[in-house]
């Protein structure tokens, strides 16, 4: 660095007028095969990032993010669950000595000890040895924690009926239904109502009949011949009623 007299500046600023060469540092004398981060290694990192991004985008396209029906605070039958990475903490609160009167143990003492120990790990594991095999306690406790997290998450996941849970949160399309119309009466008499529901919105065994986009002929065909898990021959009435039923269903539109 230039010191003392003879310093030159750009105009009246404090920026030195003398230009420094814009060249990367030289790492050739460093031990091993050291590489410059800029630009050599950064390019490789970008390639890893690009591959990762492709996987990420495939995941995004293959599985659109879920959206359940709008929150309804009056629906007390809904089974609440946190996002998957909180399931292990949630599961802990279901065990006898970690819930109810012992809630403090499950909600604060156990997680507090675990996360506190994680945060203070460098001050607990103070030896100079770094290899996992030379630190049996640190390695052991961490493996135990990972095993517990996996176990608790697993226990939490298998306890849930995911299909029922999905049905609980499903967005329901509602339609104005005239329950006195011929179509609805036939719908009821033929037992369609048992699977497709009294609001025609479907259920766990059958899809919604609202806004299907099908013509009356197509609906009549499905009623007679079935589709998917619906067996043929479900409709047992006469053809005149079938026409009315098909007309009724094909004109149902969501509100």
């Amino acid at each position: 660095m230039h010191r003392g007299k003879g310093m030159k500046f750009v105009g009246d600023s404090r920026v030195p007028a003398e230009r420094k060469p814009n060249i990367p540092k030289d790492y050739s004398e460093y031990p091993g095969k050291t590489e410059a981060f800029w630009p050599n290694f950064l390019l490789k990192e970008w390639m890893v990032g690009a591959v990762f991004l492709i996987g990420y985008l495939c995941l995004t396209i293959a599985h659109p993010s879920p959206l359940e029906r709008v929150a309804d605070p009056t629906d007390t039958g809904y089974l609440p669950l946190p996002d998957w990475y909180f399931l292990f903490l949630y599961q802990l609160l279901k065990y006898t000595y970690a819930s109810g009167p012992y809630n403090v143990i499950g909600a604060f003492i156990i997680p507090g000890l675990a996360f506190g120990a994680l945060m203070l790990a460098p001050f607990i594991d103070r030896g100079t040895k770094r290899r996992p095999t030379q630190r049996p306690f640190a390695t052991g406790f961490m493996l135990l924690s990972i095993a517990s997290i996996i176990f608790l998450t697993w226990e939490s996941v298998v306890a849930v009926d995911w299909e029922a849970k999905e049905a609980m949160g499903k967005i329901v399309e509602e339609a104005e239904i005239d329950t006195t119309s011929d179509g609805f009466v036939i719908y009821e008499e033929n037992g369609c109502i048992n699977c497709h529901g009294d609001n025609l919105a479907g259920g766990s065994a059958a899809p919604s009949l609202i806004g299907t986009g099908l013509t009356a002929e197509e609906v009549a065909d499905i009623a007679k011949n079935g589709k998917g898990t619906m067996p043929p021959g479900m409709y047992k009435g006469n053809d005149e009623d079938l026409g009315k039923l098909a007309e009724f269903i094909s004109t149902l539109e969501a509100k």
């Binding site: 990032g49 809904y78 946190p82 996002d83 790990a121 460098p122």
Partner: protein, 224 residues
């Protein structure tokens, strides 16, 4: 042309040392997957940062449509998901990114832990890293409420009940989060929105700045 613009600016502001300080550093052999394939474990931290950047960008686009009130929140998310061009992709990236960032951060934490890389002189960086982990979990928890669908509301109710069971400060903590002693509703949503979009990201950026400053100052830990 670009060079001339660069020189013009550099002559006046002397910017070369600014970015050279960031750009010029060594990548030792033992962390370079080109030399040792097993060194891919060193990628997890960088990938966490990469997903974080994607979260910030996709989140910025989501707020162009999202409305944080109980009447419109769900409607705006539904619109974003079904009507807006590429809305399903942007929301999908934010949704999956939230999970990926937890996975990558978990792997990064395990790498540092099992290598004993947190030992002297890197204790402080480990503590800051664990704080980043907590902030990320907080972002996950607050972001879960924002679509205002069934799972959002009921998961948040449970979360707030757990917060309310904190000894001594439980009630205060609950009111602070929910905005009301009994109702999880409009106030809760705006609070969670503010926490998710302003408070926690600010904390996150500060902590990440400290995290990166320390790693540059100390250099990466040596081979085992």
């Amino acid at each position: 042309m670009l060079n001339k613009i660069y020189d013009w600016v550099d002559e006046r502001l002397d910017i070369t040392p600014l970015w050279r300080d960031i750009a010029d550093h060594e990548v030792p052999e033992h962390v370079n997957p080109a030399h040792h394939f097993s060194a891919f474990v060193y990628c997890f931290g960088g990938l966490t940062f990469f997903v974080t950047v994607i979260q910030i960008l996709s989140g910025m686009f989501l707020t162009m449509y999202y409305v944080p009130d109980i009447k419109n929140a769900w409607e705006s998310v539904y619109y974003l998901q079904n009507e807006v061009a590429f809305g399903v992709i942007v929301r999908g990236m934010h949704h999956w990114g939230a999970s990926l960032v937890i996975v990558m951060m978990f792997l990064h934490t395990l790498r540092v832990f099992f290598q004993g890389a947190y030992k002297k002189p890197r204790e402080l960086n480990w503590v800051v890293g664990v704080l980043i982990f907590f902030v990320m979990l907080g972002l996950g928890f607050t972001g879960y409420l924002l679509p205002w669908d069934m799972k959002a509301l009921f998961a948040t109710k449970v979360g707030i009940e757990i917060a309310a069971s904190t000894p001594l400060i439980g009630h205060e903590l609950k009111v602070l989060l929910a905005g009301h002693p009994d109702i999880v509703g409009a106030q809760t949503l705006t609070r969670f929105f503010a926490i998710h979009v302003f408070f926690l990201p600010a904390a996150l950026l500060g902590l990440m700045g400290a995290h990166f400053l320390m790693i540059r100052k100390q250099g990466i830990s040596g081979p085992l």
